[in-house]
């Protein structure tokens, strides 16, 4: 029982970081205004953050740089598809197709 309770306390503590970070500026409202320059610089946050999430997944294998791996090849194909087509499902089909073909079909990575 006490172990179960401890787990819920742990989960609540981890969860507190969700609201602390996401609410850090939204919840205080007017009282937490950033300088205008910084606010304008933050327009680049989505692109930088998305790339920061994608890059390690496609460039690294087991923590090491790996320029020739199926995930990078799939990411290149997804990028090309996004540039040439407006179909929202095609990137998923093409990307998973290339990844599974290279990793299962050819036994890479």
């Amino acid at each position: 029982m006490s172990e179960g309770l401890w787990l819920w306390i742990t989960l609540a503590a981890i969860g507190s970081t969700t609201i602390l970070t996401r609410g850090s500026f939204i919840i205080p409202g007017e009282r937490a205004r950033l300088p205008a320059t910084l606010q304008r610089a933050l327009r680049y946050a989505p692109a930088a953050a998305l790339a920061a999430l994608v890059a390690p997944d496609v460039l690294l294998a087991d923590g090491e740089l790996s320029p020739f791996n199926p995930r990078l090849a799939a990411a290149v194909v997804v990028t090309l598809v996004c540039l040439r087509s407006r179909n929202p499902w095609l990137p998923f089909i093409a990307g998973m197709g290339v990844l599974l073909l290279l990793s299962k079909g050819f036994g890479l990575g």
Binding site: T18, L50, P88
Partner: protein, 235 residues
């Protein structure tokens, strides 16, 4: 509350986010399976899912929970993995400043990468508070439902679902689908390249701070590129 401009905002937000939200599905299933695999009961797993509601922080802390790591380390790890939301929160705050406190707390809890990435610019540009609220809350609520539903699939299907199909890569594809059109201007492309490569090159930093450092570098580089481009045109 649900007037016409709210509905129009909701429709636009939902339409923009819907195709990308498929990337959440495998990510949610994987998270559900992972929570069961360290020994959480279905109730505990879904409790964690509702309380924490942050895939990266959940997956990042699971091995530590399994290893019986001290509470401060768990919280610190979750904090670092969530740190990028401080940047998103700061960027979105002006759009929410006029809302009630309850609404600000609720929208903070629901803030996710995808909705911020696709819709933050439109939300910040709009002068209509009803439209803004609709445009934010409709895709955010959809994302929550989708996440909870497919995590439950993973939680209940753990052990039955086929592993080894790399389906979690669909989450990466979804992120790329957002990133590519966003990088159409040169400063945005610079921000993305520096943010991505910076994170990879700084991956040795302790506590996974490389990602935060990479994002900060990317923002600075994008902003610098914008000024440099404008200066170049003037000359």
């Amino acid at each position: 509350m649900f007037n016409d401009s709210f509905k129009r905002g909701a429709a636009e937000g939902f339409r923009a986010f819907l195709p990308l939200s498929v990337g959440i599905v495998p990510w949610a299933v994987v998270t559900g399976v992972a929570m069961r695999s360290i020994g959480l009961s279905p109730l505990e797993a879904m409790g964690m899912n509702a309380i924490v509601y942050a895939g990266t922080a959940q997956l990042g802390t699971l091995p530590l929970i399994a290893a019986g790591a001290p509470l401060w380390l768990l919280v610190l790890t979750a904090l670092v993995l969530n740190l990028r939301f401080v940047i998103f929160s700061a960027a979105l705050a002006p759009a929410f400043a006029g809302y009630t406190r309850r609404r600000r707390v609720f929208s903070s809890y629901l803030l996710v990468d995808g909705v911020f990435a696709v819709l933050s610019e439109r939300i910040l540009k709009s002068d209509d508070p009803h439209w803004r609220w609709g445009c934010y809350i409709a895709p955010s609520a959809w994302c929550w439902v989708l996440w909870q539903t497919f995590t439950l699939v993973g939680v209940l299907g753990a052990g039955v679902l086929p592993a080894n199909w790399s389906l979690e890569f669909m989450a990466t594809i979804a992120l790329l689908v957002m990133l590519v059109p966003m990088s159409a201007t040169r400063p945005m492309l610079v921000a993305a390249l520096v943010g991505g490569l910076g994170t990879v090159l700084l991956r040795g930093l302790p506590l996974k701070l490389g990602m935060i450092a990479g994002i900060a570098l990317g923002i600075a580089a994008g902003f610098a590129a914008e000024h440099w481009q404008r200066g170049g045109r003037r000359a």
